[in-house]
Amino acid sequence: MAAPIIELRGITKTYDDGFTALSNINMTIEPGKFYSLLGPSGSGKTTILRLIAGFTNATTGSILFEGQKINDLPANQRKVNTVFQNYALFPHLDVFDNVAFGLNLQKRPKAEIKKRVLDALKLVQLPGYANREISEISGGQQQRVAIARAIVNEPKVLLLDEPLSALDMKLRQDMQYELRELQQRLKITFIFVTHDQEEALAMSDEIFVVNDGKILQSGTPVDIYDEPINHFVANFIGESNILPGKMQADYQVEFVGKTFECADAGMKPNEKVEVVLRPEDLDVTTAEQGKLVVTVDTQLFRGDHFEIIGIDDDGNEWLIHSTNPVRGGKHIGLTFEPEDIHVMRFGEKEADFDARLEQYEED
């Protein structure tokens, strides 16, 4: 593990009116990785970003940059740059002067500024746009200018505050590829704030799931998707069927009145748990062959898959993603593998969760 570039230790942030925006945030950011802060609006993810950028102060705790405490370092002296949500480009300057803003402040030689600005514009695929006014370019192009303006200063960490939220779907997907590529080419750390789970899953090396001012879970996109720590994370990241259940023994869980083999262990016998089944892990089969039988309620064509909502005999709703539509017969069977079942304990903390996972995955 490389020496961390940014560390947040026990950060809390309380506003004057008593509102707690962040409570006990601990984060370790390693150089050269792509991180996402993922959470619903108002969860505090942007506040974390503003703390790192220096636009706001933590009430308690410390922020370390390359091992140095930077709590009191003003924003203009921090070696991080930000891409703002609404881009915050200077409307009175053209594209070139916007990108050159930071370099001009550093009083770099004219020739160097020109070269670096044009290089940065080339990097974000806007060569030849240097003399345009900001009002003359599209939202997607403004986005690129904002990125160029930040990276031209060669920051060690680039902070991105929901930079893609204002773009349309297609452009947003293109930009996801580009951002990822850019990060790998520049090899600088990206901290990307988003409420869009797909965005976070697609681009990140590591995701921090934030809600109510706390970090609920951190890990690689695959880990978080496959093994969400609690109801909130399971629901927020991807779609899921979450059911109450009971852990009968290791590798054996009971839900909807039946007992199933599963891949989870390390809990108390007969402990009440929640069970997650992802809609794409459920396979449609005949009623006779199914582990579960449901009645098809609605079926929607989503382009790349069919979204089926079925209701079982106990009245539980099941969300199923299937590549083929269900034809004839309203009763269908559902099958799944033991590994498809993910069991979540109530109120488990991330550290305990990781420890438990490690413990039974070893043997």
Binding site: F84, F90, L105
Partner: protein, 274 residues
């Protein structure tokens, strides 16, 4: 046949009524006869008389000097005032300050003039150029604040964060982001203060004292003494000048727009060259 709308007739009528007195005045400034009863023939005589009137020329220059100086100072003070008001965190303080500002805007000139007179005599400040300048600055500040404030409120705080993020100090953020952004507001504030100062009568009348006078006060006193068509000539010249001001203001407003157009053409040329 195209139907003439009542609304356009009304509009034309209103403008005719508003402009007739001014044109009537200007028309008689070319009258050979000494009064405004009968137009007896065309002459430039009143204009010659006006331009050879040394005293009048000095007054004109003084008036302009007061207008330029007072609007410059008022623009500076008013701009910082607007920034200060916008910078208040509590909404109540903000609206309280704005109300205090607006009260000065709407309170009658006579009261402002009288209160300045009392203030100056209480402080022992002699009446003359200085007192007129000070009072003009004072009554122009609220106007500037009112015209600059909307621009300041429009300023996205993210822009200030962005400037800091890119390494700007507070002063650099101010000079490179805030000021350029609110410049249109500052310009309209300056022009408005300038015209207010130029045509102010009531406040000036109280604080001029002996020996110093501005155009509006001078025209008033001459008009009282009796009809002289030199006043008409002077009014015509001033009307022409205000027309020029309006046109000038229009072009200043258009300036940034045309600059953009030019740059667009420039960019296009560059692209075709590439």
């Amino acid at each position: 046949m195209k139907k003439i709308k009542f609304s356009s007739v009304y509009l034309v009528l209103v403008f005719i009524i508003l402009y007739i007195p001014i044109f009537y005045l200007i028309f008689y400034s070319f009258n050979q006869g000494g009064n405004m009863n009968h137009f007896t023939g065309f002459t430039w005589a009143h204009y010659q008389e006006l331009f050879s009137d040394k005293r009048m020329l000095v007054i004109v220059l003084d008036t302009f000097l007061i207008a330029i100086l007072s609007s410059l100072f008022a623009t500076m003070i008013g701009t910082f005032g607007a920034l200060g008001i916008a910078g208040r965190k509590s909404q109540r303080t903000k609206s309280a300050l704005l109300t205090l500002n607006n009260v000065l805007m709407v309170s009658p000139d006579v009261i402002i003039g009288a209160s300045f007179l009392i203030l100056f005599s209480a402080l022992g400040i002699g009446l003359g150029f200085g007192s007129v300048l000070l009072s003009h600055i004072a009554f122009s500040i609220p106007i500037v604040v009112l015209l600059v404030l909307p621009k300041v409120n429009e300023l996205d705080p993210a822009l200030l964060n962005a400037a800091q993020d890119l390494g700007a100090t507070n002063w650099q953020t101010f000079s490179r982001v805030i000021v350029p952004y609110i410049t249109p507001g500052i310009f309209s504030g300056f022009f408005m203060a300038f015209t207010y100062s130029l045509d102010d009568f009531a406040v000036t009348f109280f604080v001029t004292g002996n020996g110093f006078t501005t155009l509006s006060v001078e025209i008033y006193s001459r008009a009282r003494q009796g009809i002289s068509l030199e006043i008409n000539a002077l009014s015509a010249v001033m009307f022409l000048f205000s027309l020029l001001l309006v046109v000038g203001y229009y072009f200043v407003n258009q300036y940034s727009h045309s600059r953009r157009q030019k740059q667009r053409r420039h960019a296009k040329n560059e692209v075709t060259l590439l």
